[in-house]
Point group: C2
Chain length 205, copies 2
DNA sequence: CCCTTTCTCTAGTGGTCGCTACAGAAAGAA
DNA sequence: TTCTTTCTGTAGCGACCACTAGAGAAAGGG
């Protein structure tokens, strides 16, 4: 266990690590992993390169921490919708609706960092593969939630859980890219609404 | 008018320009614009850098020609579906179905070059903006096709053409990204099928 | 043959990439 | 104060980036 209150021995850090991380998140979020250079990062974070490397490791490690913190800080709405709504249908309807809002929120980059931060095979490192795995993981969460509702009789027994989960994930990914292309909140909310029409109705209890 | 049969004066080109362009298309398609270096291109195309610059201009011009040729050579299925099918619903159902097939075809990169070749604000140049405009243009084509069917009484008069077009575009974009993430043809066909359930039925003539 | 034209090859250009050696600055410990 | 520890700023590392100057090679025209 690390003692979080222990006074550090040497010269104290001259910047707010968390605030600097948040600026790094915004930079990666806006420009993507490859297109954000270390020089861009040090400028956005207001620190020198050696401070960046001392505090965060290398560029890849900083990106990984940025992604982790992004998911907690900005991407939590999907997890909340899944956790708080009573049914899969309600949860994913809310996730889609909130995605339209979150992906177009003024004052921050549009779209989703996890969905849009890497080009195809973006780098020799496995950064792109790691984000792809996170996207697939989300589809798996959707599918489990749908399966639970089928088992509980909330969704019809002939529902294709995997297809419905993957379809919903595809719509969210498409919404993220469209928000980056400049599409506004109202249009994306209409996309979310249209997507829910592909869902089977809940069977009455 | 340029005379295409005139014998060129100097030393003839030692490579097949069209075959080299096709290799460039595949390289950009697989790795994206930024991540494909000129060294990668010369290797894939089997020519030296000066030959590349003489035949195609600079990297950006080569990419633009690659995109144009890609659309003709590999991305034509959407235009064909729109042109050949009798209704908007049939056209976009076919486009989605064929996207599942095209985006996972063995022996070539997965997904769509226009959708997936650039990270967010990929470059200082306007390459990313140009691709975004092409994506939006496609959504506009979908919308016109849907409007025509509403006017013809094939789709219900309360159909939201813009929303339905944008939704369908979002699904195609999501399918492209998922195919890059390794999702297979059968799963994407299920996504296409699910998406069409969001469409209103055609009103019988 | 020689001349002109165009392409190809070698070998670089300056610039940016991610990253770091090193010296000095700022803190606690003694 | 002096020592130790840790961070910060300068300055620059080798590698790669997109791109090209210059010399020679390969064609047609005379």
């Amino acid at each position: 266990m690390v003692d979080m209150t222990a006074k550090p021995r040497g010269r104290p850090r001259s910047f707010d690590r968390d605030a600097a991380l948040d600026q790094a998140i915004k930079a990666f979020w806006e420009h993507g992993y490859e297109a954000t250079s270390v020089a861009d990062l040090t400028r956005a974070m207001g620190i020198g390169a050696p401070s960046l490397y001392a505090a965060f490791g290398d560029k890849k490690a900083l990106f990984e921490e940025a992604v982790r913190t992004y998911v907690e800080r900005y991407g939590g709405f999907i997890g909340r919708a899944l956790a708080e709504e009573p049914t899969a249908r309600a949860a994913l309807a809310r996730a889609l609706r909130e995605a339209a809002e979150e992906y177009t929120r003024p004052g921050r980059p549009h779209g989703c960092l996890v969905i849009s931060a890497t080009a195809p095979a973006d780098t020799a490192t496995d950064v792109a593969a790691s984000l792809a795995a996170m996207r697939e993981h989300n589809v798996g969460l959707f599918e489990s939630r749908i399966r639970a509702d089928i088992a509980a009789g909330v969704l019809p027994p002939d529902t294709d859980a995997a297809a419905l989960a993957r379809f919903t994930g595809a719509v969210i990914q498409g919404m993220s890219q469209q928000s980056r292309d400049g599409v506004g909140r109202a249009e994306l909310e209409a996309v979310a609404e249209a997507a829910m029409r592909a869902w089977p109705p809940e069977t009455r209890k």
